[in-house]
Symmetry: C2
């Protein structure tokens, strides 16, 4: 018998499990399930076909299904939900933490969501109704309702009793919060400090009053910035009157960070973040096509621009040889500057405070790079075409192109940020296409002036 | 008098502080320092000029300087270190956690590092000598030596006593580890569970034996994958004999995640990760130029390719109008596929287990997108040039280009990963340039065959 304990999901294991499923050997599969951690089981499920998945998923006991379910990638979660009946979904929801339960129910089609809520116990459905109104990308949308709070006039022993009483269900319980009679947040104390302090000490004497909290309506990006900046493992969420309503833990923050990085990278490449685990080629294709068709029309526009310079091209067909290099230089320079600014804005290392400094820096960098690349290409073109004056024109063009592309690359994301548009758009295909067109225009324009002047 | 308490660093605050520094009003500045958190002070320091920075930094008392220092961005840390004498650096090192101390000393030039180590107390220099041998990007390189461990035959009360005794200096103390007489890792227990369990209970009865640990020599990427996969807040680091030697906390993991995302994005854009906070334009320029010069020579090679088809271009100059669109379509298709694969490999959502599935998927997507974009451009070109046969040739070319670019975009990062090269390279300028050249070759090749056949 194979031992699955602690095994990493590899091709062999997936094959073994597929075989067991085909042979419907439920007892053997349950042994596999017992030996794998929820995250690994989720990974295994992602590697199976749709029917196999459902077979394995139904073997998870009601208590195990939720833990595994939250670890499964989003597109595959959706597929599984489609195949489950309301009762199974309700069972999963009942055992999830409030934030995961709300995410799951929030993702269901409206009538299914209503049916699930109706079939839930009172306690859970009340929690859901508290959480569902918050948009997904706000602090309220990612917070959980499970936390332990004590009043400032209680003692350390009282706090320890609270943990004994209600702390068992709270995962990741490292801090408890201190509130006044109205539930308003006053301070925080770590479980470690509760252990260290004397049991008779008053909470108000040992708590840390400099507690950092976030409003339930705050954008999730703001939450991430706070958590990263102050290295928080937990952040309390408060309402407009500073009453504590929930808390967000570091693992949710890590998920949000990944989502945001996915989103940025997706915008920059013209894809959607969900693609990695999406299983329908049609859906992926539909997500990518708008960018491609956009780039196609951008390219057709570039063709119209070149068309304007047909006379120059007829005089010297070799001018067209250098379209690729001109476009590549403009495109790469712009992407370099834009990527640094987009990333800096995302991590908070570049703020709108020092816009001027950043733009000056990028201008200097572009100038240096232009003064290196421009003459380099100029010499190559001059020697190739045997015309040193044309070489000088190419030098001028490329230097100018690099200077302008670098500036645009740095300025566009800063401008987008100021107008609250995701700056990552600036490193994407549309701006690159515009840079291409501008570069061609500068190159052909300057060369045409030169050709006219030299007769 | 201005109140700086809890203020976010904005342009006004920076101006106020600059003025205070210029007027050398140390007392007033010390009030500012008292009111800001270390991370905010670090942010403030990053916004100052080099001399201003040093003035403010020297005002931090020895105990505060370290806390602020670790929050400052790397390039600016280096500049500050250059300006400090050995004694000041030693004072900072003494108060840092072991992992931060090792990072700082590891970054110093060799003779300065030796001087600093000589001037440190025994305890700290012994710690440093344990940590310094580990490469920066391994578990050993990011771990700290501060943790609390108890033996399995001790009681919960013994464990609580250990925390009281040595836990005060350990930040982020949420778990303690259980070892045998030889220091080998046996289990883990949360501080919360210590509070909940009876003081007389034996640790071996209440600990969790399924503890996930990582070898000190493991790559930091592996550590990140484990922490994310199992939602760990702490991961113990063991040596080859499973003896616990250190621990890594979630905040270090968040830093590594950011670094890795920075690195990927940098490789994809042809920049370096340190650029965001680098202050020397020459250094930035030097980092970007190799990519630009590489792209330049790629472009010159593209020119040579086009040169081979000069005869076709002479027959029909309008063929050159479509270079930009052909290149853009090949480039964008490849980047889309490559970005999804690179990101999926980075987050662990795509593994080498399901290579075949991913390639098939990308092939289907590319086929759909090719069958949409190819005919679209074909119709435009056919109408523009009034030659429907040429339109058909362009349709064929573009469909083929999208198919091949999509496949290359997905295959190259997977191949790089298999050979342990960073897959992010595949989404970078060099592969895009190769795709450009291949696209031009396919387009001009097919058109030339057509022109020859049609006489």
């Amino acid at each position: 018998m194979t031992d699955f304990k602690g095994r990493i999901i590899d091709a062999d294991l997936v094959e073994d499990v597929k075989e067991l499923i085909e042979q419907k050997r439920a007892d053997e599969l349950e042994r596999v399930i017992d030996q794998l951690r929820p995250a690994d089981l989720a990974d295994l499920i992602e590697h199976l076909g749709a029917d196999e998945r459902l077979f394995l998923f139904k073997l998870l006991e009601p208590e195990g299904a939720g833990e595994v379910f939250v670890e499964i990638e989003h597109p595959i979660q959706e597929r599984i939900l489609k195949d489950l009946d309301t009762k199974s979904i309700s069972e999963i929801v009942e055992e999830l933490d409030s934030d995961d339960a709300a995410d799951l129910v929030g993702d269901l089609p409206e009538d299914r969501a209503k049916a699930v809520i109706r079939s839930l116990g009172d306690e859970v459905s009340i929690e859901l109704e508290k959480l569902l109104p918050y948009p997904d990308d706000t602090a309220g949308g990612i917070m959980a309702l499970e936390f332990v709070a004590v009043r400032a006039d209680e003692t350390v022993q009282d706090a320890i009793d609270s943990i004994r009483e209600s702390g068992k269900e709270v995962e990741n319980l490292y801090y408890i919060w201190v509130t006044d009679d109205h539930g308003r947040l006053l301070g925080v104390i770590s479980v470690k400090d509760l252990v260290i302090e004397s049991p008779d000490a008053k909470i108000s004497d040992v708590m840390n009053r400099e507690v950092i909290s976030v409003n339930a309506g705050a954008d999730q990006e703001e939450v991430v910035q706070l958590v990263k900046r102050y290295d928080l493992v937990n952040i309390p969420v408060v309402d407009d009157r500073n009453r504590m309503v929930g808390r967000i833990t570091y693992d949710d923050i890590i998920d949000v960070m990944e989502d945001e990085a996915d989103e940025d990278m997706s915008l920059m490449a013209g894809v959607i973040a969900q693609e990695i685990t999406e299983e329908s080629s049609l859906k992926i294709s539909r997500a990518r096509l708008p960018w491609l068709v956009g780039a196609l029309f951008g390219g057709v526009f570039a063709a119209l621009v070149i068309n304007q310079f047909e006379a120059s091209l007829e005089k010297m067909i070799a001018l067209s040889f250098f379209f690729p290099v001109i476009m590549a230089m403009g495109g790469n320079t712009g992407t370099q500057a834009a990527t640094v600014v987009v990333r800096g804005l995302a991590t908070g290392d570049i703020s709108l405070v020092n816009i001027g400094k950043r733009l000056c820096m990028e201008l200097r960098v572009a100038l240096i790079n232009g003064l290196v690349c421009g003459p380099l290409l100029g010499v190559i073109v001059g020697l190739w075409l045997g015309d040193y004056r044309l070489g000088i024109i190419v030098t001028l063009s490329l230097t100018l192109i690099i200077l302008i592309s670098g500036l645009i690359g740095a300025a566009v994301p800063l401008a987008l940020k100021r107008f609250n548009v995701d700056p990552a758009l600036a490193a994407g295909p549309f701006v690159t296409t515009s840079n291409d067109i501008l570069s061609l225009f500068i190159y052909l324009g300057l060369v045409t002036i030169f050709l006219r002047m030299s007769g």
